[in-house]
Symmetry: D2
Subunit: 160 residues, 4 copies
């Protein structure tokens, strides 16, 4: 599948994401992915813009937690601080019974004439009942909202 539909989420860096090596810290990159997920998945407040995939009512009060079961990431190039937002691209490689596998490619800003690929990553997110801690099945609404973005999993160059 060469032309998987992708969500493009602009995420602003903060200078505070840099570490003492003067580039974006490896854990800050995962913070950017977390923020991209929140924008893509969580039901918007009144008046907020959000994509059609934003159908999770998440939070302790809503009764649903979105827990991270596993993550994998390859860092391809150091990321400098920029004012323009990075272009975090997302798609989904699997809809499980109560989980979703989220794939990402993180690029330099969309305004760049030649965008640079900084990282590839995968996150498995599990829906969990906040009260019992047990997995909750994806709803039909979730499946139909997310299916348009199903695609191939990330292929990692350096996995052993």
């Amino acid at each position: 599948m060469t032309d998987t539909r992708r969500l493009h989420v602009p995420i602003h860096l903060r200078w505070g994401d840099l570490d003492a090596f003067n580039h974006v810290n490896n854990t800050s990159m995962l913070k950017l992915l977390e923020e991209a997920r929140v924008r893509v998945f969580w039901v918007p407040e009144v008046g907020e813009d959000a994509p059609a995939t934003a159908v999770i009512e998440s939070g302790i009060e809503a009764g649903v937690l979105t827990l991270i079961a596993r993550q994998e990431i390859e860092y391809l190039a150091p990321v400098p601080y920029r004012r323009a937002p990075l272009d975090v691209q997302l798609w989904f490689s699997k809809l499980g019974g109560s989980s979703i596998e989220v794939c990402y490619e993180v690029f330099s800003p969309e305004s760049d004439p030649h965008q640079q690929l900084y990282a590839r990553a995968t996150t498995v997110v599990v829906m969990v009942d906040a009260a019992t801690g047990r997995p909750m099945r994806l709803t039909d609404e979730m499946r139909s909202a997310w299916e348009p973005y199903l695609g191939e999993p990330v292929v990692y160059g350096h996995r052993r």
Copy 2:
């Protein structure tokens, strides 16, 4: 001075700025102020937008560090996660020999019909020579770039 000119810097929250009390952590608020300072003061890269106040070449390689000498902040209301960026308003209450006193009011997004004031703060920033660690005098370029935003200092309601 009732109508000080202010810089308006839109700064996006991240869900990760929340703490276990489910609102923006007190230290995250200072992270937002830090990012607003970077956008206001640091010379932009080619092709980046920045206000006329952005005249500091900051960084270890540039030879100039912008160190924080003191901060004061009052938190007026808990801040929830929002997709729309907060409206961080800045002005300057003093240009010293080698320092600048930065004032902030942090408001809910500009798109809100009735913006809420979340916090007031002040930061004293000192220009320091990266090699020697000694203060550096503000240049004439800095003074003329920053003078249009000079105004009254923040008045704190709960100082003792």
Copy 3:
């Protein structure tokens, strides 16, 4: 009062507390103060060590939030990464109806032959009912646990 009793809380730095200037970021310092407060104030779990001041049952589930109303901090010297924990010293300058004013001096590790003072700070913490958001009065248990550490407020050298 020249010999206020103080709590000494050892707090480990993390290399991740450094920023691109290669010293502890100004907001990380407040993160260290937050952690010192948690160790000093929050009721310990079974088997945990904690000082006699640790009498707050804090958390959304416990029904009590400890909110930060204001902070003030002066940074006296850049802080490098060290494996040994910093020596965060705390005392209290005021017990209000529903608030406590916490004072800090942050020193280099206690093992240093000549400890360096890195920062002075003050935080006003307000007890709030998690359900109603309204202030809660300090209990007699809190007052008697905290009174032994009452002392003079921090004097700031560069306040205007």
Copy 4:
């Protein structure tokens, strides 16, 4: 190899590592691994304790950066805030030409009668020349310091 030698690094949580779901955030866990690596690998200052593996002079000034090329992590259980330090166990699954593959298991504190396994992870660290950005070969000192901790790679239960 059933009894790989492991390094045990006690790493303190901070309450600030929790997110709005009231447990340690997925990215905070990687921050703990980062700190464990620093303690294990970086040459100590005068008077600091460090294991025999601490032979990297890391930093922009030292001329050597330790960059992260890839990470993989599985989260097995939510981690609550605790005062006692987590028991981060490390070993190495490969010494490459200019890289090292670090394996971790993160356990509840060593003082627990029945320690709980919270996460398994792997990080590939590459030594890079700070000036040129090119990989640097591991030295003989590094190889002999690290070989005693060579063992089997982490087996991931949910990889696809």
